[in-house]
Symmetry: C2
Subunit: 438 residues, 2 copies
Amino acid sequence: MDKGIEGFSKLTKAQKIEWITRAHFKNPEDAKNLLLNYWNNDSDIQKKHDEFIENSLTNFYMPLGVAPNFLINGKPYTVPMVIEESSVVAAASNAAKFWLNRGGFKDEVLDTLKVGQVHFLFNGDPEIIHSFFKKNKPQVLEVTEEFSKNMIRRGGGIQNIKLIDKSHLIPNYFQLHVEFKTADAMGANFINSCLESIASKFKELAQNDSKYLKGEGVEVVMSILSNYAPKCLVRASVKCPVSDFIPENGWTGNDFAKKIIQAVEIAKKESYRAVTHNKGVMNGVDAVVLATGNDFRAIEAGVHSFASKSGQYTSLSNAFVKNDIFHMELVIPLAIGTIGGLTRLHPMVKWSLELLGNPDAKTLMKIIAVTGLAQNFAALRSLVTSGIQKGHMKMHLLNILNQMGASEDHKKAAIIYFKKHIVSVKAVGEFLKKYSLK
Amino acid sequence: MDKGIEGFSKLTKAQKIEWITRAHFKNPEDAKNLLLNYWNNDSDIQKKHDEFIENSLTNFYMPLGVAPNFLINGKPYTVPMVIEESSVVAAASNAAKFWLNRGGFKDEVLDTLKVGQVHFLFNGDPEIIHSFFKKNKPQVLEVTEEFSKNMIRRGGGIQNIKLIDKSHLIPNYFQLHVEFKTADAMGANFINSCLESIASKFKELAQNDSKYLKGEGVEVVMSILSNYAPKCLVRASVKCPVSDFIPENGWTGNDFAKKIIQAVEIAKKESYRAVTHNKGVMNGVDAVVLATGNDFRAIEAGVHSFASKSGQYTSLSNAFVKNDIFHMELVIPLAIGTIGGLTRLHPMVKWSLELLGNPDAKTLMKIIAVTGLAQNFAALRSLVTSGIQKGHMKMHLLNILNQMGASEDHKKAAIIYFKKHIVSVKAVGEFLKKYSLK
């Protein structure tokens, strides 16, 4: 197999590029030059980025944009957003501006508990393993002290540990279910290190006490944190008198509020809609998660599983009118950090955190949740008024023009023309054809 | 509010940077220089990237790594992966190599149907709206012909449209539920454009036919595609004789297979575990989704909602032994494209697609699913053998050393030392302290 290779990871970066461009590209030189063109001029900076992951060849550019005018608990923010999709940053900025004039966003962190589990099998009397665990709990916890010292000093650490009998699900299946606080760190390494040492101690104690366990040892399957974080929650909200909505489309403020609420109600009852409703929330959430060096796969897994916790996948946001006041809120789990991981390593992450005033983890949870709520509000506003395509395609216009290879002159003319016409790939193509003939 | 601003989006990029660095940074010059340092030297290329989104200030580097040795349906691939998390590319590469020698990956696309809906209210007899829809269906579909022409030529287009009565969920709530095929495009713009014109025609027809509808008009709430895509599915699988597993940890191949299956069984029954199990799948999936210019929020929403469709959030993969053959498979929805969006605009996306042999959408679905399965297998293998931390921290060692500002000499020494010692932030700190005293 000429496109397979032995020992690839041991090659230098230059050798990797050499092999890969020769094995896979029609024009290896062009393919190589493109990779090199995306390197940073400063070789120290480039080296830093190369060392984040394995087999790194170059930098993949994601645009970093900013959304100003966020007022959060009375404090102004400009929010950094890393996202490749057009119209998301514009939507966030518009929503921020809209609510800036209506008291801004309020939010609060509801809790910050994270979960990790040691999954094990014990083929014996559940009462015996329960009493064994009770007896040995202090010793089991003791092994985590080494890892926990710093974390406890910063206000975190293990909050509780319990043995759960899950043998009704799988024969002999039990868990050590552990809850953690991790202060300003996301805490994955801390949690996993604690769990692995707990598991190893627990197994060792079981081996030493095999008489008591009546010869039935403890078989550890795996030890790992959970990204399901239903106790690591933040709530973001906005409110304003219904009369504060500017009449649009011939609607009163009341009509507008009613439409938004209808759209949210549909997302609460209908999963096909809920998934996309929440996807809109995540456009905002992930853009800030990425900019601040957090792990978006972890956040996505936590948020969508939380949306399905009732047994039916549903909307993460809610909207209602009470005493002529319109309320909208979003509650989501966000297990993120502002120290550890890439936060101090990636220069643009450091920059983004400084832009936000170097927030602690709880403050960053609030900023992220607010951006999600802003995005959700902006999407619903478009959907119930002009439809999503008008604004989106307007924002996408430059991408379409670039794809068609339009010149700067043509682009300028198209931007003016499409202020008053509906954007579609076809319409842009026709415009360019006509314009070129002039 | 000195950190709020009017008309920000209308400023030039230079003016935006000027304002933002002065308003938010202690040292505005440094903050500005950092942004500039991440610009591409070629101003045309930089402009292209700036135009993807609004208020773009610079490029956020994500590392682009590659995982060679994937054998998929008998064809070799080197997979491009954009991800910031260490150890993911290494895990994918190891799993690819492992299965390369055991027949590689097999996969098939099960279906490619995508869904969009017009959500509307009708306050009247359901039978009347049903017969109204039946009568007007051809006219409603006719308005999409303009958008559909190209799509139909490419093998896509609207597959069916039906009226669904959801008034048991919300009073007067109905849907036009439309299924689409979108050939090699992700198709969001196509679907939304079709839906909006369907909605507008449907409303117009209802207005014209108000006598028949007995004065009860159709009130459209919104028209939008769904990211829930349970009929846009791909299955990736591997298999090998149990005896083909290399004995590790004193285990036989059979012991190893049993452990992997236990770990999958736990993820099938226990949601706390399932969420992280699937998060591991998504580490692989998203890395390829990003590299190929697709929208990872859409994919994440589709995959996790699919994982919860039974009412209990569960594992996306399955593993079992049958006739001494170990099988592992993954079935996930993937609504992706290889044309449209950023695929022709982002030079590194074009590069990534060429690396994969310029696949069509179905082939890319298979490659993405395989990478997810590889990641899942690699994570489980670590979890049930040495634990996740050993490998992960080894990969993370360079990040820790960089964070501590270690010199190149110190880094080299640490890499040698930690080949035989367990990596932790504390251990690395102690090593550097000792090494510096020498």
